[in-house]
Structure formats: C-alpha cells, structure tokens
C-alpha cells in the first residue's frame, strides 16, 4: 500500500500533469497549480512531489529543448503513466462512492 498511496498535494500535481498533457514541465505546472488552487507553492515543494511521483511510477519524464530564458538549461516534461492514471481514477472512485453513501440528511444542502 505504501508505494501506491497518493497524498493530497501529489494528487493535485498528478491532475495538473494530466491537464497540461504535452506541456507539463516545472514552471508551467507551478503556475497552473497556483492559478487553480490559489495556494502558494514553492519550486522545492513541486519538484519534491514530482520526484516522489516518478519514483512511485505514476509519472515518467523526458528532457526537452534548452532555451536562453532558462539559462541554457533543458526542460523536463512529465507524462502520466497508466499506473498514475489508475491511481487518479481510484482516488476519484473512492471519493464518489463515499459521497454517494453520505445520507441526505447529513448535508445542509444548498451551501454545498
């Protein structure tokens, strides 16, 4: 279980990688996450999560082209692996099944 566990922030990163599809590299991911979630995310936190996800096998990466605006350094593009996709689906399924199981009376409704 330990290897397949998906943390909340990891889930967010994984989703963003899927979302950006062919353009998922560090800065793009960072900005997308900041824009969508509104939280502040450091480069360290992002790359640390990416590193973990790659080790778990949810992501793989390829090196891209070098540009001047990156101090002559190449980008690393991330792609979702089938295992990663499955992990995301599992999380969603779990959540949906639990949402469905909540009795109507337990929720206040409108405010959601």
């Amino acid at each position: 279980m330990k290897g397949t566990y998906l943390g909340e922030f990891e889930e967010l990163v994984l989703l963003t990688v899927a979302l950006l599809y062919d353009h998922a590299y560090g800065v793009a991911l960072l900005e997308e996450i900041i824009e969508r979630s509104g939280r502040s995310v450091s480069v360290g936190a992002l790359h640390s999560a990416l590193e973990r996800l790659e080790t778990k096998g949810f992501l793989r990466s390829r090196m891209g082209e070098a540009t001047a605006e990156r101090g002559g350094r190449r980008k690393r593009y991330f792609i979702l692996t089938p295992i990663g996709e499955k992990a995301l689906r599992d999380v969603r399924d779990l959540r949906e099944s639990m949402w469905k199981a909540i009795p109507q009376t337990a929720l206040t409704g409108g405010a959601s």
Binding site: Y25, G26, V27, L30, S42, V43, G44, A45, H47, S48, E51, R52, T55, M63, A66, E69, R70, G71, R73, R74, K75, R76
Partner: protein
Amino acid sequence: MSTEPTSKPNPPAWLIALLEHFLSSERQEDVLGDLYELFYRRVATKGERQAKYLFLLDTLLLLVRPNLTRHTSTLSSTSLSTSMLSHYLTMAFRSLCREKAFAFLTILGLATGMAFSLLILLWVQHEWSYDRFHSKADGLYRITAQVSELQTAISPSPMAPTLLGQLPQVENMLRLKPTENLLEVNGEKFEEKGGYYADASFFDLFSFPLLAGHSSTALSRIDGIVLSERLAKKYFGTRQALGKIIHLDNHHSLVVTGVMQVPLNTHLQANYLLPLSFLEKQGHDLHIWGNLEYYSYIRLKENISTREGVTQGITTTMNALFAQNEKQGQAVFGLQSVSDIYLHSDLVGDVPSRGNIAYVRLFSGAALCILIVACINFMNLSTARSAKRAREVGVRKVMGARRSELVGQFLTQSLLVAFLALLLALGMAWILLPFFNTLTDKQLTLRLLEIESLLGLFGIALFTGLLSGSYPALLLSSFQPISVLKGMIQQGRWSLPFRNVLVVAQFTLSIILIVATATVYQQMELLRNKHLGFEKENLVYVPIRGELDKHGEALAAQLASNPLTSQFTFVSELPINSTEGSDAVWEGKSIDEQVIFYSMQVDAHFPETFRVELLTGRGFSAEIRQDTANYLVNEAALRMMGMDAKQAIGKWFDLQYKGKIIGVVKDFHFRPLHQKVEPLVLEFNNATRGKLVLRVQSQATKATLVALEQIMNKLNPDYPFSYGFVDGEIAKNYSGETRMGQITQTFACLAIFISCLGLYGLSAFTAQRRIKEIGIRKVLGASVSELSFLLSKDVIPLVVLAFLLASPIAWYLLHGWLEGYAYRIEISPWSFALAGLLVLVVALLTVSWQSVKAALVNPTKTLRND
C-alpha cells in the same frame, strides 16, 4: 524597471553555485532551468529586487528537500555519523551506570567547579556591563581634570557648554552636581543622598528608562523633580507619582515630573534629579571657570571614525579654554570613556559606586583555577579507571576501530559527563546565588533563557568536557590490543607520574589559597586593631545641617550643660579619608616646588575629644583671637619642613593665609592605612560647621544618644536627627579587603573539597586494585593499622611536594598584595605550616577512609576465588 538595463539581471551567482553543489545531479538541470525561467518572469513582473528575494527563498526551500539534494554518502563513513554517535552515547551511559559511585564523584566534582565558575562568570559579566547600555555609549565621555598631582572627576561648569558651542563634533553635553537634600512628603521628612542637579539633556545622554513622565520634558520645568523608582515607591507607594508635591529643604515646593528606573549597572546610582536651572535660580553662578565642582559629560557625533584624534583635539581645546578664561588656576583636562568609569576610574571626588578591575581579573583567574582543578579530577579518575576499560579498547581495536574513533568515543563520554555536571551545576548555582549575592554585595540573577548565557553555559560544558576528556581519550586509545587482550594491564609508562602531578597541582593550589586566607585575615586584624593616633572607639558624630550653624553658641552651651554630652568638638571632616589640601609655604622653605599639605579644620576641643597627643606648644583657644590665623602641624609636616618640634613654634606658615605655628600634634591617621601618615595642617574651625563629634562613655551610649537627640530636635527641628560612629566609618575603608578575605576563604574551602573528592576516588580505586595483596598480607599477619598506613602513606610525599611548590608562589603573591599597605604584617611561617598540616591531615583522612575499609575486609572474601 523604467530605464532599459544595459545588461540583463541575473540570479545571484553564489546561490547558483550553492544549488549546483547540493542538488542531486539528476534533478539539477531542469530544476535550475525552472528557477532561471521563474526569475526572468519575476524580473519582468515584480522587479529585480523582488525577483532576487524570491530566488533566495526558493533556493532555501529547495535545499531542505531531502529527495532533491545530493546524498551525503561520502560523509557516512566518518566517525560523526548519527548511528556511531548514538552508539557512543549508549556506551558512555552504560559505563557511567556500571560504576555509579565513580560517576557520582566525577559529576559532583565537576559540577561544584562549574557552579562556582558560573557564579563568578555571572559577576564578571555584570561588572563588565556597567554603562554599556546607553544608546551611543561608545561616544560618551566624561571630562576629567588634573590639578597639581590630584586626578579629579570634576570640572568647571562652563566647560561642557562651551565645547558644545564651539566644536561641531560634540553632539550633546550634560552637567551634574551632586547634592543631598531634605525631602518632605505629606509632612514626613526624609534625608536623601545621591541627588544630582542635572541639565535637561540628562535622559538624552543616559538611557535610564522613564516609568512616568517624558524624557524630553522631565527636567525642563524649573520646579520639577525626577525620582528613582525606589524613592517613588518609598514616598507614594506607587510608580505613578507624576504631579505629586514634594517640599525641598523646608523652602521650596517641587512637582514630580518623572519617575526613572536606575539600572543596577551604571556608575551613576542617582536617587533623584533636580533641574540645574533650579540651582541657578537660587543664585548659583554657572559661569565661573575657577570652581571645579561639576561632573561634565559630552557625547561625540556618531559618524566620527577616529575617536583617538578627536578626543586629542578636544583635550587641547579644553586646556586652551581653561587657560584663556581662568588666569590663576592650573589644570590639565582629559576625557574618559563613560563605560570605563566604574571599573577603571580612580579619581578624586568621583561618584561613590566603584568597581575594581583588579578584583575582576583576580576572580576570573580564581574561577578558571577552580574549573581546572575540577577537570584534573575528572582526568585523574578516568585514567585510574583505564585498566578496567583496557579490554574493551583491545576488542574494539581488533574489530577494526581506528584510534580517532576511540578518541571520539571517550570524548563523547567526557562531554556527556560535562553536560550532566552542567545540569547539576545550574541547580547548585541557583541555590547558592543568594549567598553569593551577599558575599559580593550585588543583585545578580540567573537568566538562563538569554541566548548569551545559553551560549556561555554551552561553552563552559564544552570546554570542561574537551579539556578533561582529552588526556584519558589519548591514553586509552593508545593501548596495544595484543598486550591488553593477553591480560597484561598496561598502565602506560607515564600514567602514574602524570596522575601524581595532577594531585600535586591540586594540593598546591589548595595550600596557596589557605595561606592567602590566613594572611588576609591577619592583615585585616592588623588594620582593625592598629592604634590610629586617636581613640576611634566611642566617638559619635552628627552632621551639621540646616539652621544649626546659626545656633552654634546655643548648641555648644546645651551640650556642655549635660555631663553626658560635654566632651565634644566641631571638625570640618572626620579623619577617615581626608582629601582636603592646599599649597603650603613656610618660613625657610628651601624647595621651589609646590608642596601640598593635607588640611583639616578643628576647634579648641579637638585634642582632648579625639585623644590626640599634643607634643609641644598649645592647642587652639577660643579666647585668643589671632588663633583664627594660626596653625597646628603634625610630625610628618615637621619632617617635611625639616624642623624639630621646638624650632617650629612661632615660625610663620602659609596655607592660603599667613599665620604662625603654635603647636605640634603627634601623628594620627586621617587616611586609610594603605599609606603612611602624611603632612597635615590643622586650622582653627571657629564656626559651627562640618561635623559635631562627641566622645561618649561606653556604658552610657544609649542615654547620650537620647540626650543628643533632644538637643538636636530642639535646635534643628526641620531636620530628622541622624548620627554615626567614627569607628564604623573607618571600617568602611576596608570593606574591599573584608570581602576579599571572605572570598579567598570560600575559594580555599572549595579547592580543598574538590581535591579531596578526587583523592577519595583515586584511593578507592587503588584500594580496590590492591585488594588481593591486602588479603595476602592480612593472612600473613599484618594488622589493620599497618595495612591502613601502607595504603595511605603514598599521599604524604605528594602533599610535601605540593607544600614545597606552593610556599614560594604563595609568598610571592602575598608579598605583592601586602606591598599596597604602608602598615603590613610579616608573612608568618606559621600560616604556611598551618596550611601544609591542614592539607596533609585532610588528605590522610580522605585516603584512610578507603584504606581502613579495605584493610578491614575479611581476606577469605577477597581470596576465595583464587
């Protein structure tokens, strides 16, 4: 970014280098690329500064990510890895627990040493902290003046304001004039000392916190008074005393305009402040250059780079100013840093609170000595036990432990002991602090939560741990595995002599301290009992204040009418620490130089009241009118003038005015016994001023005081009656010596205690090692006393050697100390004999405790296993 930058801004190079060094090589490329990209975007949107700041932040946040940074695999093989360290700690704990008694002795010894060094360090720190808390303290100076041979702390009042007006580098100035007043609050009268008239700039120069009132206005009101927190509480029971009324000297009504907190560590222990303008309004001229009666402070501007040159310039200006404005007097001016006043200043007319740099050095040295003695103990006990751990070392070496690792292990253990001892020492220091405060007359507190004290404590523990652990660590790690594993316990060729050297060093120190204690005590006895040339016992003095000087005749008549108070005299000052003196000229004076004679004003009853012997001539008489211009001199003055007693009578003499010498008094001491009696001239005190001194009968002291109080209350109702004893005042001259005596005594006890603790441990160890030998001897018929002596006698040559070493050192040190006294004891050989004997007895008792125990053991117990 309004202007086009010529070159593109770049991320800081050092941060890039840092990242390149620490980021793991796989992630480096893209992470750095991301950082670059972000940086350039931020430069465009948020500006360069912000971008650089965010870059720094990102870098720091990156470096704490373990999965992105380079693995420190190269470091893990050294001895400092965490697993090795925890192993060392475990071993250290186990070896301590295995021998609890030894562990306790070492820790207790170290802790005692540390506790005392801690207390002394606290005191030293306090002494150094004086007047360093003022804002801009290093630009703060006091003006000093040298008049003939006297260095004084006082200067003329126009000096500081003139400097402020003329020199741009002087930022502000302050003048203070000490005063004593009668303060009346709600009908209750208090005589207060430690008051100062001060310029309104007081709170700008001295950073005394104001608890009530405002620093810029507290002294601007002419009828204002600023009270210390203590006085405000005493008078009004609260710090909120603003606006309350205080009557001054029965004449003036003042309003409290501020309540200040006077820090403990300032030379200026002021009780209250009055505005200088108030003094001026009463007709005090602040423009006289000739009178030196103010403490003047100046503050230099902050941006002055070379203080030396500037102070030199100011000194020159001051001397020029004085010469220009004051034609008659001669004085040379100087500046002293305010933070130096408490410890370094030894000036005439200075404020009362005074420290002594010599004591600070002495006690720092003593603290270090005590700590070293404690460390020696630890070394001794550890090396003595080394045999027990020899096998462990052998096995470790066989298993491949390197020497550096073994050293690390033993140092870890000594550090552990040091830190345990530190904890104990903190507890001890906390308990001892109140006693220590009485001993040093301070109000020190242990402030453990401040970063400096934490660092200091950590430093002490580290120092003791490393120092005391170094020798055992080196010794133990040097064992050859092959021989120790074969069972040959090798002691190391040098370990026994070395251990003995340490014991000798400890006892040397103890003996020195004991001899010092005895000598200081004897010297104090001498000072206390020396006949001063007058009888100091049973003399009561009353300061003349208020209206009393106008009722001089009535006072004299009333005193004379009561037999209890009939023996009295009026003197200008008590013969305790006289400082008054003038330029003397006499008939036939052949030397061309200025000669200063001390002077004192006395009346006709002085010789009989003080019981000072009149050698020739006569004393002053109220009936003879010319006596107001006549003089009495002492023998020292005669010697200086080169006359004998007969010749002197009738010769003219000039000390500010010309008169005749009418009598010679026998030398009596009017200054502390550090100096010989110096030339003294007695002038006729015709008025009622200075101090009234009464000789009382020792059985009737109480009744006399009651009678005196009645008379004083009748004639001087505005002032509360106050009195003092002359011998009490004289004793205050030697409070420094008294304190030093107490402190050396404490140190001596401590040194002996710690040394004995070590010796006890050592003897226990020796007895244990020779337990079989003792068993065999006992079986063969040795008696308990013979065996005890056998085990104890080793210590005798050590003590003798320590005695031989200590004697010359102690003699040299004490001789130097006694040089400071004109009247001193001969250092008696008895104090050496006493110290040596004492140490020998204590050492033998300590050792024999173990020896007797070992000798009493039934040999069947010790020998049954063989």
